[in-house]
């Protein structure tokens, strides 16, 4: 049985490496969820990208910091920009349309950018010190000038307002507040600019409003509103009306009985509006006001209780500054969403509930339009949305609303009908794992299919001949003959879990809200494990919470809320007497008490709180189990461990040696118990890599690089008998033979048992190997591998590396690297990364036979190497691979902001017929031959008989 594998191996090494994604496979074998993240209520709007064109696009800046424009007709992304490059905290971003100019302005963290609304190209960008707090577009009296932008920053605890020129982003004027108040928002009407800040200390704040002259940026006035009893944090301020004829600031009192409103610019004038309770206490109050200067100064107050919601509409009398209640929208059961739509002076409120869309104008209480909601699949309750209202005739209105729902979908409801929905909750994935489709289910399904299709029916025969898409389109979960269909379980930072069907273009088969996390908190998944025999998946979070669910249906089997068990720092899949299970490791690398029946047999490698790596062993004596520290590993002084990688759990090796050109063998160093530890030092700019034997803790190999930029990504991958890592370093020339190199590098290391061919190293031909007692001699040194390494320069940073995995390991592995600067994933073939490539000379005949070619220091990331081809995948955190049933093929899934999946065959698809294979002509040939034989056979037989019998 081993012979064919090895022959195949030999044959494969002859094959050229597959570099390209074939044109007929692109967009067919791969799938991509082009996601934005959850749209935020204050950064989502409809906007005309072209001034004279009525068509609008839907813009949003999501919770993940992705700025995007979506076609409201189709739900497809028109363009995206990823603004939050580093994942430090959830970026509070701001996005404003520049009305009438075809541009949108965004502000995230410390930068302000202006984007072309149609193409998504950057018009200008500017970076300032501090953290952005608010952004506003200034309306001009003159219409022909480009509109300027106001950006409020908090720098060193002080408010810093800048007016940026709309044409190029330069600072027109800057105002720096001297006091230590917390800047909150900026607002403007055409005459004045207001800075709203919180004055005071923890426990209670007063609102301070500073009024500036818009032309010079000089302070003209300032006043304080006494709000100490009501406002305790910036979140308590409900709304600071933005660009409107009469901007307001509002908040509620503690009991949520009254809404307090101040019209900006009118000092000391706090108007109190009563909030009417309906069905119990009000839990949430939202204000909806128009954003256009020319709109009427109306606003709506939307109050939600646990079971129902209602709203009041108010008018502001511009002359007297009085706020008068105009009418109210009656109570409706359930939570609803109200969105505001403006067209010129008119302001419309769209009220969406789960079964009705109601359109009203703020001017009068008459209902302008009412549509029953027809939605294909239930999305749960509606949370918030934006609307666009078009008046088609005097009494005919059309309204479309983009609503974020409870199930974290973004749904467009056009006149009550669902036009599209985007699974935005799938974005921000933090953990994912492959799961097999459970046998019972798939067997039942395939039997069902079998029962319905008669094998003698012509279409079934034809379907096996004619080229067909390999993915099934029935929508049900079923296995396929090649093993391309699997379930991927994805956990997102918002506490949701999704099941994707890779056989059906990664479509969402189920989703589940595992935990309800408070706003601003991210779910920290520490371990995810699938038990394919039971068909269940376990996901463990950092706070001791876990969820157990069915992989095929997403049914929640068991949930343990956060805090119910000790915190978890990591997990390991261990094998105990009662089977495999996911062992949580607590703080300081302590697995805690483990029941006797579940005690793992293996050595556990954990990381302690102070960064050292420990090997732990459980010893069972009678009834108690004792934890013994087998070994510890410390890094050098000043270094901290950034990553530890081990060989993948499924890492089969088909051939234990490498055949050289003269047909001798270099034996691979195949130790499953090795880990690669990356340690960096920010102070000395060094990065060290340690290859450890994880049973004995001994160091097998170590390298150190100097001049490393530790802020740049340092990533590594370890598999089979080789490892690779990439970093940015500045290597100075220290000798004549060594040239200086500066830039991103990828290094490859191959481990062999011995430097000499045909030699099995110090262990000789022994069948077993023990890391603890490598040889008969007591206290012998461990068998160190012989390492061959090579360095290559690469043009871009690699932020994540992983390796393809196939069923038997015959296919050569490919290194999959995510390039954040070009938003793509490249598959670097192993032949390119061969450390044995001859340097500074052409390969000899024997080396050529081995498949080696001359060393080139630079590896260009050829677009043909990209497995994402034309697609742009954003914010990839991890790439996971899984073997298919076909040896040639490995399934790949990349997750992060986006979800991207494909199949790769690093040694070409040698065990499956390509799409170009003409099965029809093969069958036609066979049939033609058969017919020919059937016709000719009697003729020939007759001729032969005649030849015997007829003499002349």
């Amino acid at each position: 049985m081993r012979l064919p594998i090895n022959l195949l191996c030999l044959a494969l090494s002859v094959l050229p490496c597959a570099l390209a994604v074939y044109a007929d496979e692109a967009y067919n074998v791969d799938y991509h969820h082009e996601l934005l993240g959850l749209p935020q209520p204050h950064t989502t709007f409809f906007h005309r990208p072209r001034q004279h064109d009525k068509a609008t696009l839907l813009y949003t800046l999501s919770d993940l910091g992705v700025l995007g424009a979506v076609n409201p007709g189709t739900g497809k992304v028109v363009w995206r920009q990823f603004l939050a490059d580093n994942d430090t905290a959830s970026p509070a971003g701001f996005l404003r349309p520049v009305e009438g100019e075809g541009a949108v302005v965004s502000a995230v963290q410390n930068r302000v950018d202006c984007w072309d609304a149609m193409s998504g190209r950057e018009k200008w960008g500017n970076v300032f010190a501090g953290q952005v707090k608010d952004l506003e577009v200034m309306e001009h009296a003159a219409a022909d000038e480009t509109k300027d932008v106001l950006a409020l920053f908090e720098d060193d605890g002080k408010a810093h307002l800048r007016r940026l020129k709309g044409a190029n982003g330069d600072v027109a004027w800057a105002y720096k507040d001297g006091s230590e108040d917390i800047p909150l928002q900026v607002s403007t009407n055409i005459r004045e600019v207001f800075i709203v800040s919180l004055h005071g200390s923890w426990g209670g704040y007063n609102l301070k409003i500073t009024i500036l002259d818009p032309v010079t940026g000089k302070k003209t006035n300032e006043y304080t509103l006494s709000t100490k009893t009501d406002i305790h944090s910036p979140d308590d301020v409900l709304l600071v009306g933005a660009n409107s004829a009469s901007p307001i600031v509002s908040w509620t009192d503690k009991a949520m009985k009254h809404l307090k409103v101040n019209i900006l610019g009118r000092s000391g004038d706090i108007q109190s509006l009563p909030l009417k309770e309906s069905d119990g206490e009000i839990v949430k109050v939202m204000l909806h006001a128009p954003h256009l200067v020319q709109s009427l100064p109306h606003f709506g107050v939307h109050s939600q209780s646990a079971v129902s919601n209602r709203a009041d509409v108010y008018h502001i009398n511009l002359a007297s500054g009085k706020i008068e209640k105009e009418y109210e929208l009656p109570k409706l059961p359930g939570p609803g969403a109200i969105s505001v739509g403006c067209s010129n002076a008119n302001v419309y409120f769209t009220r969406l509930t789960e079964d009705e869309v109601i359109l009203v104008s703020t001017a009068s209480h008459g209902i302008l339009g009412r549509w029953p909601v027809t939605i294909d699949t239930p999305h749960g309750s509606l949370i918030h949305g934006v609307s666009e209202v078009v008046q088609k005739a005097t009494d005919v209105y059309a309204v479309r609303s983009a609503v974020v729902t409870d199930t974290e979908e973004w749904v467009l409801v056009r006149n009550g009908n669902e036009a599209w929905s985007r699974p935005e909750g799938l974005s921000g994935a933090i953990a994912a794992i492959w799961a097999e489709i459970p046998e019972s289910k798939s067997l039942a399904k395939s039997l069902e299919v079998e029962a319905h299709s008669n094998p003698f029916r012509p279409e079934r025969f034809l379907s096996s001949i004619l080229p067909q898409p390999t993915s099934h389109t029935t929508g049900s979960l079923s296995k396929d003959g090649f093993g391309f269909s699997k379930v991927v379980i994805v956990a997102t930072q918002r506490g949701r879990v999704y099941g994707l069907d890779t056989g059906n273009h990664g479509s969402v088969i189920w989703s589940l809200q595992a935990f309800n996390l408070p706003a601003g908190k991210k779910w920290n998944v520490k371990g995810i494990w699938v038990d394919n025999s039971r068909g269940t998946a376990t996901i463990r979070g950092s706070e001791g919470e876990y969820v157990l669910l069915q992989t095929a249906t997403g049914d929640n089997v068991e949930t343990m809320p956060p805090g119910s068990s000790p915190p978890v720092t990591s997990t390991a899949i261990v094998d105990g007497p009662s089977g495999k299970w996911l062992l949580p490791i607590g703080v300081d690398g302590n697995p805690g008490e483990v029941p006797k029946d579940w005690v793992p047999n293996e050595i556990l490698i954990v990381q302690s709180a102070d960064g050292e790596i420990r090997g732990l062993k459980f010893e069972t004596k009678g009834l108690d189990t004792k934890l013994i520290v087998a070994w510890t590993f410390h890094t050098g002084i000043g270094q901290k461990i950034t990553s530890i990688v081990s060989r993948p759990t499924h890492d089969p090796v088909a051939s234990i040696g490498r055949v050289l050109g003269d047909r001798t063998v270099l034996y691979k160093y195949l130790n499953p118990n090795i880990v690669l530890v990356t340690a960096v030092s920010d102070i000395s700019s060094t990065a060290s890599f340690y290859l450890l034997d994880s049973v004995s803790g001994s160091i097998l190999y170590t390298t150190t690089h100097t001049g490393v930029d530790t802020a740049q990504p340092v990533t590594s991958a370890l598999t089979e008998n080789w490892f690779a890592y990439s970093l940015w370093s500045d290597v100075l020339s220290t000798s004549a033979s060594m040239t200086a190199a500066k830039g991103y590098q990828i290094l490859i290391f191959e481990l062999y048992e011995s430097a000499i061919p045909n030699d099995r190293g110090p262990l000789g031909a022994t069948d077993n190997s023990s890391s603890l007692e490598p040889s008969e001699v007591p206290n012998a040194e461990p068998a160190l591998p012989h390492v061959i390494s090579q360095t290559f320069l690469i043009p871009q940073a690699i932020s994540h590396m992983s390796v393809t995995s196939t069923r038997q390991g015959i296919t050569t592995r490919q290194l999959l690297c995510y390039l954040p600067s070009s938003n793509s994933i490249v598959g670097i073939p192993r032949a390119l990364l061969d450390p044995r490539r001859p340097v500074d000379r052409d390969p000899t005949t024997l080396e050529q036979e081995e498949g080696l070619f001359r060393y080139q220091p630079l590896i260009e990331f050829d677009p043909k190497m990209s497995i994402t081809h034309a697609r742009e995948v954003y914010g990839i955190k991890d790439v996971i691979t899984s073997p298919a049933l076909l040896e040639s093929t490995s399934l790949v899934l990349a997750y992060g902001v986006d979800i991207f999946g494909t199949r790769v065959s690093p040694s070409m698809a040698f065990d499956i017929l390509g799409k170009g294979f003409n099965k029809l002509s093969l069958v036609a040939t066979v049939v033609a031959l058969g017919v020919g034989v059937a016709v000719l056979a009697p003729m020939v037989r007759k001729k032969q008989i005649n030849g015997r019998w007829m003499t002349s």
Partner: protein, 185 residues
């Protein structure tokens, strides 16, 4: 109950089983007029009439002839060796249908020859040649082995002989680790 005796065979069966007696070859009686005999029959008749005139050779002359013929047979394999070697050299060491067929022939012919050593010299077997023929047979075997060696040389050149370590790599196994460590990161 005994079955009735089979009916007498039809006439055509009788004719088939007992064809008319062959015409004696050396007959002086001319064919009757109008009998159209095949032209080959005529020629055979002429040639056979010629051989009759030659005197039969003596046993010794026959043995000498046989030995000569046997030597020819014995040396036949080596005569085509230079040609085969040249063609093998020219066809290269790559795996192609031409070289594969050539190698197959290079193995098949000597092997068949070796197996059929006795049959090859059967017709030269006689009382007086027993000792000498043994010598001839030995030379024949050596020649065939020589041809076989050429085949081996070619196969070796093509890298098909499992003589190196890499050919036995498939039967070597990786070492089984005695301990297992599980990383928890």
């Amino acid at each position: 109950m005994s079955s009735p005796p089979p009916p007498p065979p039809p006439q055509w069966v009788v004719d088939l089983s007992s064809p008319p007696a062959a015409k004696p070859k050396s007959t002086a009686i001319p064919d009757p007029p109008g009998f159209s005999a095949a032209s080959t029959g005529n020629r055979k008749q002429v040639s056979s009439s010629k051989t009759t005139t030659r005197a039969p050779p003596t046993t010794e002359a026959m043995d000498t002839l046989k030995l000569k013929k046997a030597w020819e047979v014995a040396l036949a394999p080596v005569k085509q060796l230079p040609m085969t070697a040249f063609m093998m050299y020219m066809s290269g060491n790559s795996l192609q249908i031409f070289s594969i067929m050539m190698v197959l022939m290079a193995f098949k012919n000597p092997a068949m020859g070796l197996m059929g050593t006795n049959q090859a010299f059967e017709k030269f077997e006689s009382e007086g040649l027993k000792g000498k023929l043994l010598m001839v047979k030995a030379v024949y075997v050596v020649m065939n082995i020589l041809a076989l060696a050429l085949g081996f040389w070619k196969v070796n050149g093509m890298g098909l002989l499992p003589t190196t370590r890499s050919d036995w790599l498939a039967w070597e196994t990786a070492r089984e680790p005695l301990e297992v460590a599980i990383p928890a990161f």
